[in-house]
Subunit: 262 residues, 6 copies
């Protein structure tokens, strides 16, 4: 079976730089996969795509060596199974607030006896190899989102669930539920303290920590805090931000970097 | 009928800043339409969309006041007619090298007696008004691409075709056919001279001049030369360029502007 | 944030006329949005569209001032969240039979502390405003379907759930579970009595009452009973009914109203 | 090969009632195919669909005995061939103004030696039978649009082209180019005179005459004039017209016919 | 209402040969429906299609007399309801391991009082008849998957659930959970014993037994064991297998059967 | 720029085995690309896909080293340009019957000064390399179809057009126009003689010869005659043929090869 290079980078102590896809298009996915990211996540929760388009996006990512991943819309085994069958190498589950929820999530990702995933890896076998069923339980990354004050409180119970490979901080919801909303790059002391607690708990259990960020600076800061998986914005977020910069630069006469119109 | 604000801006001596869409998605189109552009062009020549998706992109642009436009894949009346019926306010035609080709193009865009466009403005009537057929000949912008050395030579004959509202420089092909390829922002003296010749000819005939650019600086320079319609890169080009900047900034520790993950 | 005009009409004591979409197409959605409806609902339960097409339908509706709404396929937080993120201003949930089910539904629609919706209003922010997260809990309409005999029995408990804005009668299922099936425009005395009971309970709790109808007459009757949200048939239902009328009129020589072929 | 029932109805002196599809959806196509029409035309010229969706619409029509047809976007052999390969039983070509154009059109629809259509009837063989290539030249209907003053003038030359089965009046363009625009149901005496001339010429050459109408009354009048193929509005046109009627009926308290919400 | 020919074949003691669809395309579905199968199942669990494409596949199958069926992604009433509304005549539910799960599944497929399915058979009424709601509870086939060791143990409790018409063996998961994985055509004695036990239990309760197979031989063997519903591979599985055979035959000079390129 | 391995195989005297795609799906395309073919052609002439789906199919093929190719619907520069921009490594043009037509086709595929292709290789640059424009004229294969008696007569004039890399025999049309129709694997002596004439002419001008076949045997025979590019049936053709074999094998008890249900 194809090796999961995200797991390899973690084993080598490296930080994975992850791209994030909201645009329902295999073309934008392919462009993103060529910009230097280590992994690329199709966001089925807040993104605009249906499953069928997500499959074409996984294929587009598979034209490169970037690891295809997805975020499930919810902790629901039917959808999680379909995403895995499409050949992703890691899956992020939103709103995992308790040990029970984490066990339900991990179980949905693992074949018997580690879980209750149903065998039928249609595209996964074509993409990752004919022996997929034999190795999927150890190669496919499970990543539970810790994104509420409650989840931070339950961090140890969640993170210690067998079969959980990693966690992912959702800063928007975490800020809101902590009563200190600041959007993506939250630097409230209590927020930072919560991150440190989660990272420490992860270290203790050999679990990798990930986080969504709104800038290269915050991503770097997170990496320095011990996060080994950092996401930079999203495809449409980057496109919009840069478009606005360029339009303003035209009107104001400021400098921007030249680009190509592919 | 809905007023064409691009024509109004031209009449006021302003420069229109145009966005350019290659991604086949109404979501990316809607995001782009919120970044300050005056018009937005769906590129059916080098873009990745089919007609049906292009229609959803025109709808997405129509949620704002930005003027929807399209580039046709070729000087072919069937496709041109379909794009116009979908409610665009301007159409760009590639590779118009002779007066004959320009007349064929303009004719395809105008109802009798100004041309041979077939009546059936399905979405155009819903978007632009029930009296569309009465005013379309004067409101809809025709824009012929001058993008070969031959077309520059024939500039006067092309630009003087009755019913032609504007021309559009394709710098890639123009550089290639002039033997001085430099991609988008060509500053070869002969190239600049060709641009100046075209702009002067446009002025003489009351026709607006447009150009595709690869940076805000070149767009500004073009505007100062007399171009009244400047395009900045493309959606996927901007997304890719900014993604690469951010990934590099993460690795190198350089500063970037913070953004949002929509 | 964009104001919810449905809520405003309710506050003014008016009845909202709602359109209903089963056809998976942004074109038919846009046509429907131009016919005088106050709101327009994409039916993800019995309609033929996937999420990705539903998004293009919301965009098409957003080219007008008609309020975009959706019916969720089921009381399931993952799908409900995705629909809200796409920028709808109201959501209808089928088969809410108990107070618990109603609380689960309302919670899925509200950010903390009013509920457990996950933050990430991708299109909602673009459509409804950058301050969406701050106002969504009060602007977005929650509408629970009362469509079983059991739900009518539990009406008070359901309707009094905090955060519930309105209820919606599903006449088909309600008739079946009451043992008096009559399809859409049920005039069985027991049925009418049940409607009156629900409307009275709504009045008591300041909750708006809605209903699906099969004719303008029944909609008018419902409005007179106190319903403030009435749906007229559906897009494909209207199209089919009128097509049959016209074909019959051709064969029988009866009169019909002239129309336009857009 | 499957028999073309439109040809059979013509042979029996009957008038074919044709439906017209602008909505890019196999669902609306299937609903329309159940309302009593004899044939159903997917309009690739002014409709909103791409080829791939058109194919699903032909399939939806094929669940009934209604004859699937299409209007090509233009007199262009590549697109005409693709539509025929998808299994339609008749094809309408817009803007046939001269004998040459008619011969080009008919040739694109016929296999050697009657024309230059390329063999590869992918879906046609599955839908219409394994012996499709042997019988297609005689079963598939060619229908040239006469929709300009010039075409009326050239009527005899056009209508007498060998292999042409029928013509189709486009009233919108015909009115415009005759200088008497009245939309669909034009009753200007000169217009009626032109229709009579075309019908008479058709009779002389054993060619069926068709026309697009905006009401059952005009369709009936056309049938009485000798037209054997009458189209009633379009899918989205009917839907929009009836929706407006119902909304108005609600507000004004007028009566309408009850329908079903499928 | 349209008669369910699968039920009729079962009543006559015949074995139904079922096709299986993973390719998200109405074209491949239509081709498959012409090859001699009695029923055709769109696999929403391990297949690559979204709901909207699945609907076009049901339509494609409906151009023939083959019975359209679907496998749901999971035992979830929202998705099951949507599939039924699209007009399928039977539904397969994965991972039914207990009597409770079976009751939940069957209830989702039946209208009151036999279950809790919501009325709104949008396409089902068009495809299967206007009286669909009256007969659906008895015509639509429910088929629970027995595909774990636990389910075999609970076979009697599952199979005896009122309203369950049939069961379906998933050999992949059953082999894995029994600790004897062999893929599709498992001939381990314990596996065969489990099959025999399930078939015997089905017989006892008048329930039909189905199974997924990887070859005509195993299907035949299953039929001889008492299975009355046998699936042969899948669309993409067959295509891939035969393509590999042909490529190898070219290189090795071996013989293959000639075919047609539709 | 990425090397064209089809050209390399030709230079080494090998025969390329080509796959053929009619199903509009990136999933079936990806499966086909894993079965041992050297190149894979998306057929935009007789296949069922629109451009946008074709792009996803090219991406799916690009997950392997198989060379992506396409057949254009017709000798029309707009569509040819779009297909090339999507990153294919070779293009087949139907119905090239004269030297003029061949020059028009080749010109549409080459940048100035070798032709008149417009620069804008959107996906081609991402897939094949940033220096695409510099090398495309020599790496991209042009393949003109010789598929009429007239074309065989004009073989020398067609084949000697500068920039033409190869020709492709369409046996269906060639048989029809020669008056000896036999479908795909035509063994009429006159047909074989025509093939030999074309192959000999190709040899003389250093042009590769290709042909569509219906079996491995005929492909082998063609290879022995000097054809260096042989296509085997099509995706849906193979799927249908094998499905029929399996269904018959079930009913008749004959043996077939076991497969997998991906």
């Amino acid at each position: 079976m194809r090796k999961n290079t995200v797991k390899q980078m973690w084993a080598e102590g490296k930080t994975v730089v992850n791209g994030w896809l909201h645009i329902p298009s295999s073309w934008s996915a392919e462009v993103m996969a060529h910009q230097g990211f280590d992994s690329m996540t199709v966001d089925m929760q807040h993104g605009m795509m249906s499953y069928e388009t997500a499959v074409t996006m996984f294929q587009a990512i598979s034209t490169t060596n970037v690891m295809p991943m997805a975020r499930a819309p919810w902790n629901e085994p039917g959808t999680i199974g379909r995403l895995l069958d499409a050949g992703i190498m890691g899956i992020i589950c939103p709103m995992v607030n308790t040990r029970d929820e984490c066990e339900q999530f991990v179980g949905a990702c693992r074949y018997y006896p580690d879980g209750y995933r149903s065998a039928g890896p249609t595209r996964a076998k074509v993409y990752a190899g004919a022996d997929y069923v034999d190795h999927a339980n150890s190669e496919i990354i499970t990543m539970a989102m810790i994104e509420t004050a409650q989840a931070v409180e339950n961090a140890e119970e969640i993170i210690s669930v067998p079969g959980l490979d990693s966690i992912y901080i959702g800063p928007g919801d975490l800020g809101i539920t902590m009563g200190i909303p600041q959007g993506l790059d939250n630097d409230h002391p209590d927020f930072i303290k919560a991150l440190e607690h989660v990272v420490a708990t992860c270290k203790k259990h050999g679990v990798a920590a990930g986080i969504h960020t709104g800038s290269a600076q915050y991503a770097r800061r997170a990496s320095e805090m011990g996060f080994q998986f950092v996401t930079l914005l999203s495809d449409s977020g980057m496109m919009g931000a840069y478009a606005k910069q360029l339009v303003n630069a035209f009107h104001e006469g400021t400098q921007t970097v030249s680009g190509e119109a592919y």
